[in-house]
Symmetry: C2
Subunit: 120 residues, 2 copies
Amino acid sequence: MSPKHNPNQCPMESILGQIMGPWTPYILWLLSNEESLRFGQIAALIPDISAKVLTDRLRKLEGSGLVHRDYHPTVPPTVYYSLTARGAEIHCVLQGLNKVALRWDEEDKSDKGNAEIAAE
Amino acid sequence: MSPKHNPNQCPMESILGQIMGPWTPYILWLLSNEESLRFGQIAALIPDISAKVLTDRLRKLEGSGLVHRDYHPTVPPTVYYSLTARGAEIHCVLQGLNKVALRWDEEDKSDKGNAEIAAE
DNA sequence: CTCAATACTTACCATAAGGTAACTACTTGC
DNA sequence: GCAAGTAGTTACCTTATGGTAAGTATTGAG
């Protein structure tokens, strides 16, 4: 996004700025399928994300009120992340997206299969 | 996304890679509300996007089969962009997202209004 | 002869974003 | 007194991204 651009002028852009971008929807998707997840669990479910970026995304999601951070000062510390009520509202959107994703994946697979058969 | 990361391994990541990122969902949203739009029209509807980035996004969307490019070799040339059948499938997803966006926007406005009243 | 119009493309530059690796805190266990 | 374990933070560096400005093609109008 351009620095001059104010996302607040449009609700659609505002929400896109909050939930989109690398890894963010994926984190929300994981959290929307579990009660809560610890930092290390999320990191394990997304192998290619670095701790720095994961922290950054979780902080931003917490800042926009989509994710709740539950810190337990045990030793070593345990931190549970879960969706807030607002965060849970996008579950149906992600579910819709996932449906489309699975459908396209099937189509692409069968297209690829047909192409291979045709090539023989 | 990390360069090592292969989005094809997961349908969800694949679709996110195709439709998310700066401006892309916005372009799809505009196209899903019109029959077709010319390059200049899209540029006018998104004032802060540069021609370079708009071209890039449209090429990528065309490449993943979500957008159809209709080039008329008139002078000066006219190019119409429209959603393909596959591109149209994400309209309902964007519509769901827009609904949530509008609801949050209303909530935030009234919260802000209450805060201002409380501050008086 | 030059401009205007559309839809780009190209070159160059500045900023932002992400990766890696090392470091922090604190207590239990060895 | 040193390592382990969790959830980070920090510094440093590289890459990617986007902006700006200029150039391209073609032809009718002035």
